[in-house]
C-alpha cells in the first residue's frame, strides 16, 4: 500500500522518561522509518517497556516529544491523539485479551467501534483475521480455553483488525517455544511485507532480533540513555560499545569491534 521509501514515520525527540524524580532514560533521540521492523532492546529493567508505554501514550514524557508522521503526539489534544491511536495495532505482553469475550468478540470490538461495517462484514473480517494468524475456526473460544501461543496470535489478530499503519509488540515471543516463536516472527514479517506497516518491537530474543529486525536502538541501564542505533547485525559486529556487542552475542564477544567474529552462525 505504501512505497518502501525511507520516510521517517515515528521520531523520538530528546525524550526523558521519569517516574517522579526518578529518571529512567534521558535524551533519547532517534527515528523509525516507515516499513521498518524496529527493535527496542536492552537489558532487563532498562526501561524498554516504559519507552513503549510512552510511545503508546500510556505515560506522559517528563521532557521531549514523540512525533508520528511529523505530528507531535505529546502536544496533540485528546481527539487528535485518539485519531492517531486508531491507526495503531498493539499487542501486550500477556495478550491483553478480554477474558469475558470470545476470540471473535475480541477481534470484532475495534471493528464495531470504528468502522461502518455491517455485522455480516465484520464476521467475515474476523474470520479472515483469525485465519491469517492460523486460528481459523476458533471464533467461539474464550481466551482461557486456548494455549499461550494461540493467545499471542489471537492478540495479533485483534491488533491487525483495523489494518493498522503501526504495529506495536511488547515481548511478542516471551513464553513461547522456539517453533511458535519462529512462526510468530514469520507472521510479523509476512504481515509487514504485505501491508507495508511499520513494526515496533520490544524484545530481547536474539534469534528473533536477527531474523526480522531492520533497525534497532539499545537502551543502557547504567548510563540511562541510548548508546547504540542501527541494524542489529551491524551493531553486533561493529558497534563501538562493548556492552552492545556483548548483549547481541549473549555475552560471548568481549573482543574488539574491528574483527567481526563469525561465531553467531545461527543467522
Amino acid at each position: 500500500m505504501t512505497t518502501p521509501a525511507p520516510e521517517v514515520h515515528i521520531s523520538i525527540r530528546d525524550l526523558t522518561m521519569a517516574y517522579g524524580s526518578f529518571v529512567i532514560q534521558q535524551d533519547l533521540c532517534f527515528d523509525i522509518n516507515r516499513g521498518d521492523i524496529f527493535v527496542i532492546m536492552g537489558g532487563s529493567g532498562c526501561g524498554k517497556s516504559t519507552l513503549l508505554r510512552h510511545m503508546l501514550g500510556l505515560l506522559a514524557p517528563a521532557a521531549g516529544d514523540i512525533l508520528y508522521s511529523g505530528q507531535s503526539f505529546t502536544l496533540a489534544d485528546e481527539q487528535a491523539q485518539h485519531a492517531m491511536r486508531r491507526r495503531w495495532g498493539i499487542t501486550y505482553q500477556s495478550g491483553g485479551m478480554f477474558s469475558a469475550m470470545t476470540l471473535a468478540e475480541n477481534v470484532a470490538l475495534p471493528l464495531q467501534l470504528y468502522t461502518p461495517c455491517s455485522r455480516g462484514e465484520i464476521a467475515d473480517i474476523v474470520a479472515y483475521k483469525l485465519a491469517l494468524v492460523g486460528l481459523a475456526g476458533y471464533q467461539q473460544y474464550y481466551p482461557a480455553e486456548i494455549s499461550g501461543g494461540m493467545l499471542k496470535r489471537a492478540a495479533l489478530a485483534r491488533a491487525i483488525a483495523l489494518d493498522p499503519e503501526i504495529l506495536f509488540f511488547d515481548e511478542p515471543s516471551a513464553g513461547l517455544d522456539p517453533i511458535s516463536s519462529r512462526l510468530l516472527d514469520d507472521l510479523i514479517l509476512e504481515l509487514k511485507e504485505s501491508t507495508g506497516a511499520t513494526v515496533v518491537l520490544v524484545t530481547h530474543e536474539l534469534p528473533s532480533i536477527f531474523a526480522i529486525a531492520t533497525n534497532a536502538v539499545y537502551l543502557d541501564a547504567a548510563s540511562r540513555t541510548m548508546i547504540a542505533y542501527g541494524s542489529p547485525t551491524e551493531l553486533r559486529d561493529h558497534s563501538d560499545q562493548a556492552v552492545v556487542r556483548q548483549f547481541l552475542t549473549r555475552g560471548s564477544n568481549p573482543g574488539e569491534p574491528t574483527e567481526p567474529a563469525a561465531r553467531s552462525g545461527n543467522e
Binding site: S99, A127, Y128, A136, L187
Partner: protein, 376 residues
C-alpha cells in the same frame, strides 16, 4: 468509495468454469461485495472451477481479503478448484497465509444455551458439585486448624495481625453508620406500635433485645460479607491467576494454612468485637429516636438496663462467631476455587457475597429456632 464500479461480476465460461472479475476500490464501508449475493449466483451456475481476476482492482483493505477467504472456503467445501490471477501482490500473499492452516473443527460439545442452564438435572448436578466442593473445603480447613492447634502449622502470625486490622478497625466507620441507623429504624418501628397502648417507654426494651439478639449481629455480618468476604475472594482469586497459589503449593506449604487460616481466624476474632460495638451504637441510635418521642435519656437508660440480660448478649455473640465462620468459608472457598481470568475473579467475588448472605440468613433462622426450642 470514489469508484462507483466497485464490485464483482460472475461470468460463466464455455468450459464449465466461472470467471469472477473484481473491480473498483474495496474498502471498509464501501459495500463493494457481499458474499451472500455471490454464493447465490454460484449455486445457480454450479461451475466446475472458479477463477478470480483482480485486474480491475483499485485500492483495497481487509474487506477484499475477507471476501476472497470466503470464496476460497466455499470452493474448498464444494470441492471446486480455486485459482486467482492479477491480484495485488499483498492480497495473494495474505490469502496464502490465511489458508495455510485448515480451519479448526470444534471438537468440544457445543456450549450450553441459557435454557440448558435451567434444566433441573444440570441444576442438581451443579448443586451437588457445589456441596461437595464446600465440604472438601471445610474438611481441609479443619485439618489446617488441627495442625495449628498441634503447633506445626505454617500460618504466619504477621498475616493474622494484618487481616485482623483489615477486618476490625478499618471496618469501624461503616459499622458505626449502619448500626446507628438500624437502631433508629427499630425504635421508630416499635414506637409507632407501642404508642397505641401508651407504652412508648418500652421502646428501650424492644431496641435492646432486637439489637442484641438479631439486628446488630446480622447487619454487621452483611456488611462484613460485602466488605471482607468479597475482598478475600478477590485476593485469593487474583493469587490463583498470578500462579501465587501454585508457588505456595510447590514450596510445600498448604495454601489452607498459609492463606486461608489467617483470614479465617482474623474474621473469627473481629466479628464478635465488631458486634459488641454495633450493639452499643444500635442502642444509642434507638435512644436518639426515643428522645425525639419524649422519653428522657434517664428513662431510656434505666429501661435498657432492665432489658439488658446476659443471655441476649450471648445469643448475639454466638451468632457472630457462626456468621464469621460462614463468611470466611464462603469468601475463601470462592477465591481458592476461582478460575484464572479477570472474569473468573469477578465471578468469585460475586459468588462469595451471594453465598455468604444466603448462609447467613439460613443460619440465622436455624439458630433462632434452636434457641426458641431451648428457651434461651
Amino acid at each position: 468509495m470514489s469508484d462507483s464500479s466497485a464490485g464483482f461480476q460472475l461470468v460463466q465460461q464455455s468450459d464449465h468454469s466461472a470467471l469472477l472479475t473484481l473491480s473498483g476500490d474495496w474498502l471498509q464501508g464501501s459495500r463493494a461485495g457481499s458474499f451472500a449475493a455471490l454464493s447465490q449466483q454460484l449455486h445457480q451456475a454450479t461451475p466446475e472451477s472458479l477463477v478470480v481476476d483482480g485486474a480491475g482492482l483499485g485500492q483495497w483493505d481487509s474487506t477484499l481479503a475477507a471476501f476472497l477467504l470466503r470464496c476460497h472456503n466455499h470452493c474448498r467445501q464444494e470441492g471446486i478448484p480455486f485459482t486467482t490471477r492479477n491480484l495485488p501482490a499483498g492480497t495473494d500473499k495474505l490469502l496464502r497465509l490465511a489458508t495455510a492452516v485448515e480451519p479448526h473443527r470444534q471438537t468440544a460439545e457445543p456450549r450450553g444455551s441459557w435454557l440448558a442452564a435451567l434444566n433441573p438435572l444440570t441444576v442438581v448436578a451443579r448443586s451437588t458439585d457445589f456441596i461437595r466442593e464446600s465440604l472438601a473445603f471445610t474438611g481441609e480447613l479443619s485439618i489446617a486448624l488441627a495442625r495449628l492447634v498441634a503447633g506445626n502449622s505454617n500460618t504466619r502470625f504477621e498475616d493474622f495481625r494484618h487481616f485482623c486490622y483489615q477486618a476490625g478497625p478499618e471496618a469501624l466507620g461503616i459499622i458505626s453508620l449502619t448500626s446507628v441507623l438500624v437502631g433508629m429504624i427499630l425504635a421508630y418501628l416499635g414506637a409507632v406500635q407501642l404508642q397505641q397502648f401508651g407504652a412508648e417507654v418500652y421502646v428501650a426494651n424492644l431496641v435492646t433485645i432486637g439489637i442484641l439478639r438479631e439486628m446488630g449481629v446480622l447487619m454487621t455480618a452483611v456488611v462484613m460479607a460485602g466488605r471482607t468476604g468479597a475482598a478475600y475472594a478477590a485476593q485469593l482469586g487474583t493469587m490463583q491467576t498470578n500462579e501465587e497459589i501454585d508457588a505456595i503449593t510447590t514450596m510445600g506449604i498448604s495454601p489452607m494454612e498459609f492463606l486461608v487460616l489467617p483470614r479465617f481466624l482474623a474474621l473469627l476474632v473481629a466479628m464478635p468485637l465488631l458486634t459488641l460495638y454495633a450493639d452499643l451504637l444500635g442502642i444509642v441510635g434507638g435512644g436518639i429516636v426515643a428522645g425525639g418521642m419524649g422519653i428522657t435519656p434517664l428513662q431510656y437508660i434505666s429501661q435498657t438496663e432492665q432489658a439488658l440480660a446476659i443471655h441476649h448478649l450471648a445469643v448475639g455473640l454466638i451468632k457472630a462467631v457462626v456468621f464469621a465462620l460462614l463468611i470466611a468459608v464462603a469468601g475463601c472457598r470462592a477465591g481458592i476455587n476461582s478460575g484464572r481470568s479477570s472474569a473468573a475473579v469477578g465471578q468469585a467475588a460475586t459468588e462469595a457475597v451471594v453465598t455468604a448472605i444466603v448462609y447467613l440468613i439460613v443460619a440465622d433462622a436455624g439458630i433462632n429456632i434452636i434457641f426458641q426450642q431451648i428457651r434461651f
